[in-house]
Symmetry: C2
Subunit: 330 residues, 2 copies
């Protein structure tokens, strides 16, 4: 059967261009014994995909990896039935064969399929684990999250509110700022593009910041370090401001000496370290979702050919909430 997939053709320097990618048509054979044929429905597009494009981790001239939800369309494997929904790392392609070992079945409990790519998926787990396990956010504390209108950021802010924190968020437009305040219940928000970040933090967090959930690095981190409270924690999830620079180098952070007397912790993390806690996360997140306490937005582009555009759009502010590509509606 014919499938289409996205290959990386040239390693981008700076903001990727659509011409760095290529749409390639391939033939996918029918499944043999033990195999299933999976049709991808939705795929996730994440800032963390950017550094591997340049540092060599993403291979040239083959289908790119990435989180996706697919549907079993043919099965010669007893563990999977036609119609089952599965999560995989095999995004950026329409169809693929699998022996099942790299698939995780999703049991829907009434929630929309796509939520398993964000609030109930790796995005939600990233936010939950980063804020609560690494950041150890506690009731009454002040949490600052950057890229707060993005998928992870908006989830972090809402979980922090649920846990009784005061929440400050930064974002890149006035429309997004409105959403943070009026829709997601943030206590304070600012558009970093027309603000002095350090002054905004002093205004929004006059008693200092206990947890800074860092999604962007650079100027945000430089400013946040000056207002961290004693024993503050900075879970570092991403540094989107640096990802288009060679070596993912950020603008210079000059304020790190603040962590000494304040005994502040910075800790880089990846969501996979929370996988052993995924059941606990899912139970909490499903409850919040059903109670209307955890809201989400999606920005969905249609067609596998739009995947490069979606990835680039993460760095130009195209998305509010989770950036997804719909590969097939059913």
């Amino acid at each position: 059967m014919k499938s289409r997939e996205i290959h990386l053709k040239t390693r981008p320097d700076g903001l990727p261009k659509t011409s760095d990618f290529e749409l390639v048509e391939t033939d996918v054979p029918l499944p043999e014994n033990g195999q299933v044929l999976v049709k991808n429905l939705y795929m996730s597009v994440d800032p963390a995909m950017r550094p591997p494009l340049t540092n060599g981790q993403t291979k040239l001239n083959e289908a790119m990896p990435g989180g996706a939800i697919g549907k079993i369309v043919e099965s010669k494997n007893d563990a999977f039935a036609v119609g089952d929904h599965v999560l995989s790392r095999n995004g950026f392609r329409e169809l693929y064969l699998s022996d099942g070992s790299n698939l995780e079945r999703i049991d829907l409990m009434g929630e929309p399929l796509t939520t398993h790519l964000h609030v109930l998926g790796m995005t939600g787990l990233t936010a939950w684990g980063g804020l609560l396990i690494i950041g150890k956010a506690k009731e009454g504390e002040t949490v600052f999250v950057s890229a707060a209108a993005g998928a992870v950021g908006s989830t972090v802010g809402q979980i922090a509110k649920i846990k009784g924190c005061r929440v400050i968020g930064s974002c890149g437009s006035d429309d997004k700022k409105d959403i943070l305040i009026n829709e997601l219940g943030f206590d304070y928000a600012f558009n970093y593009k027309d603000a002095n970040i350090r002054k905004e933090l002093q205004k929004g967090a006059p008693e200092g910041i206990d947890v800074y959930f860092d999604n962007v690095g650079g100027d945000h981190l430089d400013a946040a370090l000056t207002v961290m409270n004693p024993r503050g924690r900075i879970p570092v999830c991403g540094m989107i401001s640096a990802y288009n620079n060679r070596g993912a180098r950020s603008t210079g952070i000059t304020t790190l000496s603040n962590i000494i007397y304040s005994q502040v912790t910075l800790r880089g993390f990846v969501a996979t370290e929370f996988l052993p806690m995924k059941d606990r996360f899912l139970m909490e997140a499903r409850q919040w979702l059903s109670q209307g306490k955890l809201k989400y937005r999606e920005t969905i582009l249609n067609g596998i050919e739009k995947a490069p555009e979606a990835l680039i759009g993460l760095f130009t502010g195209l998305n509010t909430g989770k950036m997804l590509v719909c590969i097939s509606k059913k």
Copy 2:
């Protein structure tokens, strides 16, 4: 009785000058009931004293605070006898009165008095706690320590060797490099003044660094972040390279995004957080000292009037090992 003390007269901008300080003669009255009169013998001079000179924590026109060992010369307090040795934060002065509440008696077990200002004192506790409690250094791991010929750095390196680690050190002269290798048993050392730090680290630690004990910040930290192993730890003890800049701002650190995928932790700390463990530290350190496993050097200037010069000398490479001022020999 006449005493002399050092006051801060003007807040330094950049490297302090001796003219920023003033030697002031004062009258110290005789002790009243409950009080003791203490004569300082040795005082400690530490890089951490520098930022408070500019940020306002050190008061102008009064005797500066700092670790010191003194001797009780008159006592109207039953808890202290004439001749007792006491630790205090009342350095930078020859004589002072105390009600005893800010004094800690030292019980010498044959070791030289001055060791209680470094290997058996706050310097040793800083090195021990930073390396083992915050840095969680384990046998077989690779430890990098900057300012390795300094008081804290040389203690860190030796404790790491005792614990079975491979140890890399940086210092500011070839003489100091010799001491690190030939006297203190470091596995690799380099003089950062004529070296590319990142290349030296790749050469000295081809399998990467598990613990970077940071004393200097700036270029050292920027380089170390690129060679940290997964789950590496960076206890941040000080940033001497930044301390003479306004706001203790370092040169820009641009490599922090490395901590994300490698799940590295940076943690600022102060020695006082290890005080509850001081007995355990002292037991270990005394044993290592008596076994000849823990060596130390001192750079001692004589006379309270030399205290500003000693403090400035920390930033110009004057000291090898602990910088002390002898206020009175007995």
